[in-house]
Amino acid sequence: MFDDLNDLYQQVILDHSRSPRNFRELEGANCTAQGHNPLCGDNVTLYLIMEGDTIREISFQGSGCAISKASASILTESLKGRSKQEAEALFARVHDMVTTGKGGSEMGKLAVFAGVYKFPARVKCAILPWHAVLSAIEGRSEPVSTES
């Protein structure tokens, strides 16, 4: 009945949104960034401990819908231990996937967001934490917004 919906709200997404991983402030974080979605008023803050170009630790906090919470949660899992360059490359592929629906097969757990592309108003939800994390590791200090 709810075919597209089941694509969007996969069980993994619901699980992560209910019990987000790494959902806390990170002590000793040397890199943080906020993301803001003016359409809904939701906010996400990313906390990172960077060692050189490597993301040693990562966590998040904030308010958001199931999509944005799950996206942030899975993001923290996916980026831990990765380099800045790897994070940027992954962002590009996530962006592609949630706007076109393609490329999910090589994305591992992140593939659960492939269904988002059918819901244009919700693409920003999935992307919001990624915008924030990129802004953090690239050292920009202003809060980012999904309107950009």
Partner: protein
């Protein structure tokens, strides 16, 4: 000279909520996401009856020309249609004279006009601008910009209790001698509160305080009488009352408009222009620079005729009925949180269901063909006060039906189950 608007009012208008009436709105008859459309986002914008759409077409197919300066036939027709629209709008809100109606893009521009043109001339350093906790961003930000420019202070009449009501006793305390202007919404677009606008204006007037009524949510939903309200300014949008987008109005009491410097400069608002100095045209033209939204006014005229044919008291009664019905049914749902007054509410309901985020709820409802709105509804300060980021909202109009509300409840139950997997 031919008539540029939609023609005479219907003699036998269809009843609110009836199938016959729904047929006046072509957009309602469509399938959205494999389900018949149930449009419950009327507080954001309303749909347009065929007479309004036809009025636009007729205008462009027969009468289109620029207004005011023309001598030829099409220009005569357009100018007459435009000024007839103004007289119609004045009658619709019961203004004393049609020159008290300024056409704008909508409520937002109307309030900006007051804050910028009247405000800059009359609000001084140290003055207080009083709003309420439940204002739309369009009735907050223009005043903040003014306050910053002239060094005035912002104050807010608080929402007194969990029922989303404003407290008249508190109002008296807030209406101190430094308050220069009191701007408030007639009906809250997120709580559904209907404010006692007449009493607000009475108390403000007793203290010589200028009043600005944001009528965005009330203009299309019942009778409005600016003389009875005894307000100084009143702002409204055409698109929220069956009219086209891009047109709205500002009512201003004659004396106040006379004492207000121009807003935008340009053609039509001038009497004479010299290289160094210019002089201003008379009301209402002083405030309408450049080519206005002529077709918009023609469409708005048709919308006002349509609403009066249906009967604004009928609309108000039915609206409240739908609101009460929805509120009652919703309050039976387990895990529901309802915002706004229990009784006497406008035809809209704001709610949260369990811990489902409003946008998730709205996305699922949309897959059932139901158009709801989720978000802060341009009421962020109020949301902060309520301790939420956003709510889901269903807002009704006279073409909605009780069955649609039943269906909404059914789908909300499904949504609960869906997110409770």
């Amino acid at each position: 000279m031919s008539e540029a608007h939609a023609g005479p009012e219907k003699t036998n208008p269809p009843a609110v909520g009836s199938e016959a009436l729904r047929r006046d709105f072509p957009i309602l008859d469509q399938i959205v996401n494999r389900n018949p459309l149930i449009y419950l986002d009327n507080a954001a914008t309303t749909q347009k009856p065929r007479v309004v759409i036809d009025a636009l077409r007729n205008y462009y197919e027969r009468d289109n020309a620029n207004v005011h300066r023309g001598v030829h036939e099409l220009s005569n027709r357009s100018s007459a249609a435009y000024e007839r629209g103004r007289e119609r709008a004045a009658r619709f809100i019961h203004a004393k004279r049609s020159s008290e109606v300024i056409f704008t893009r909508g409520t937002t521009e109307s309030i900006n006009l007051v804050a910028q043109a009247w405000g800059t001339a009359h609000v001084k350093q140290g003055d207080t601008i009083l709003l309420t906790d439940m204002e739309h961003h369009s009735n907050i930000v223009p005043w903040q910009l003014l306050a910053e420019r002239v060094g005035a202070r912002m104050a807010y009449l608080p929402v007194a209790d969990d029922r989303g009501l404003l407290d008249l006793n508190q109002l008296d305390q807030k209406l101190t001698s430094d308050v220069r202007v009191f701007a408030f919404t007639h009906v809250s677009n997120s709580l559904g509160t209907v404010n006692p606008a007449r009493e607000f204006c009475r108390r403000a007037r007793a203290r010589g305080i200028t009043t600005v009524v944001d009528a965005a949510q009330s203009i299309g939903h019942g009778p409005i009488d600016v003389q009875e309200l005894d307000c100084d300014f009143l702002a409204f949008s055409g698109h929220k009352m069956c009219g086209p987008t891009g047109i709205g109005g500002l009512y201003g009491r004659h004396e106040l408009l006379e004492a207000t410097p121009p807003y935008q400069g340009g053609g039509d608002m001038i009497a004479t222009v010299g290289f160094e100095k210019s002089t201003w045209n008379q009301l209402p033209h002083k405030f309408e620079a450049g080519t206005p939204n002529i077709a918009g006014v023609v469409g708005l005229h048709a919308a006002m005729d349509y609403l009066d044919a249906i009967g604004r008291s009928n609309i108000a009664r039915y609206d409240h009925e739908l609101g009460a019905h929805a509120y009652e049914e919703l309050s039976r749902l387990k895990g529901i949180r309802l915002f706004g007054p229990h009784i006497g509410r406008a035809g809209l309901v704001s709610f949260l269901l369990n811990d489902v985020h409003a946008h998730d709820l709205v996305t699922v409802a949309d897959q059932r063909g139901i158009a709801l709105r989720g978000g802060h509804h341009c009421n962020q300060p109020l949301m902060n006060k309520l301790g939420v980021v956003s709510t889901a909202r269903a807002s009704f109009y006279f073409y909605n039906t009780h069955q649609e509300i039943e269906r909404l409840i059914e789908v909300l139950r499904e949504i609960q189950k869906f997110f409770d997997r």
